[in-house]
């Protein structure tokens, strides 16, 4: 085994280890989803999902996150081709889209709390804020990580080791998009319909 092969081998192990972490994170989200589904109807006289949710902004959030996942994958392709400037450009776009997503989500939360629909109002709202807030927290950490990786691309050469690190960040971002699909459908969609 040459040195290069060895580098690829250990990086594969790291990616796999990160994948195992993502799977345990998925279990955390599953528990929060189960909590939300069980407590959804317990509004304690407060606002119901149908009265509260403003679907156009949720659609905007979903489209923004899907697009950011796409631009992130394009950034990763540029990294594989050693095109530093393109990679940074795509990751800046991903960062801006992620920031826009977070702004819409936070303004939605502020609006809910302003209407008196805070997490203390009912079991439904507690579970809603816990689930969506946990996802938002993951997005914030993803954005922080993306900034660090952009500096890394700008300042360091794109070795096998660097590429693997950036790949793990991209994997994390796609994973957050994957979780949001279910938040969009189960929390907002089914919450609105039923």
């Amino acid at each position: 085994m040459t040195e290069m092969d060895e580098a690829i081998e250990t990086n594969d192990t790291k990616v796999f280890g990160f994948w195992v972490y993502l799977m345990t994170d998925l279990v955390i989200f599953a528990v929060l989803f189960a909590c939300y589904i069980v407590l959804r109807a317990n509004t304690y006289g407060g606002p119901t999902p149908k009265e509260l949710f403003h679907l156009p902004s949720v659609l905007a959030e979903t489209l923004i996150l899907l697009t950011s996942s796409f631009t992130c994958s394009l950034g990763m392709l540029a990294v594989h081709r050693q095109l530093k400037n393109w990679a940074i450009a795509w990751f800046i776009m991903t960062f801006l889209l992620g920031g826009a997503f977070l702004c819409i989500e936070i303004s939605e939360f502020i609006e809910f709390v302003g209407k008196g629909a805070s997490w203390q109002r009912s079991a439904f709202l507690s579970s809603f804020f816990t689930l969506v807030g946990t996802h938002g927290l993951h997005i914030s950490f993803g954005l922080l990580w993306m900034v660090v990786m952009m500096f890394r691309i700008a300042l360091r050469p794109l070795t096998e080791h660097s590429v693997s690190r950036i790949f793990r960040m991209a994997l994390f971002w796609h994973f957050l998009d994957f979780v949001w699909i279910f938040i969009f459908t189960v929390v907002y969609g089914i919450g609105y319909l039923l």
Binding site: S73, L77, R81, H174, I181
Partner: protein, 100 residues
């Protein structure tokens, strides 16, 4: 890597179409002649298709070479998730029914 690029573009277009279709079913279920429970199951199926699109086109879970440990651990996680969610709903609905 033109193949990789075309895969990303295909995945992106598919995911946009699935999202918009799901949104219209949520907002106008009567347009599709769906009652609420049927509309809910249809959008859930759309979400499952969407998640498979994401896994194949963006997360690239299926590697052409090497081991498929990542797929194995993903499937076991999905079964844990199924157990947690399905049985929570089942038990709590039963409790709710008996305490009425």
């Amino acid at each position: 890597m033109p193949h990789a690029l075309s895969m990303r573009v295909t995945g992106f277009i598919l995911s946009l179409m699935l999202t918009l279709l799901g949104y219209f079913i949520i907002v106008y279920p009567e347009f599709f002649y769906f009652k609420a429970p049927i509309a809910a199951s249809v959008i859930f199926i759309l979400a499952l298709i969407q998640s498979i699109v994401q896994l194949l086109f963006f997360i690239n879970i299926w590697k052409e070479e090497g081991t498929l440990w990542n797929v194995g651990i993903f499937i076991s996680t999905v079964s844990i998730i199924f157990i947690i969610i399905f049985f929570s709903i089942w038990i709590i609905d039963h409790l709710n029914y008996h305490m009425r």
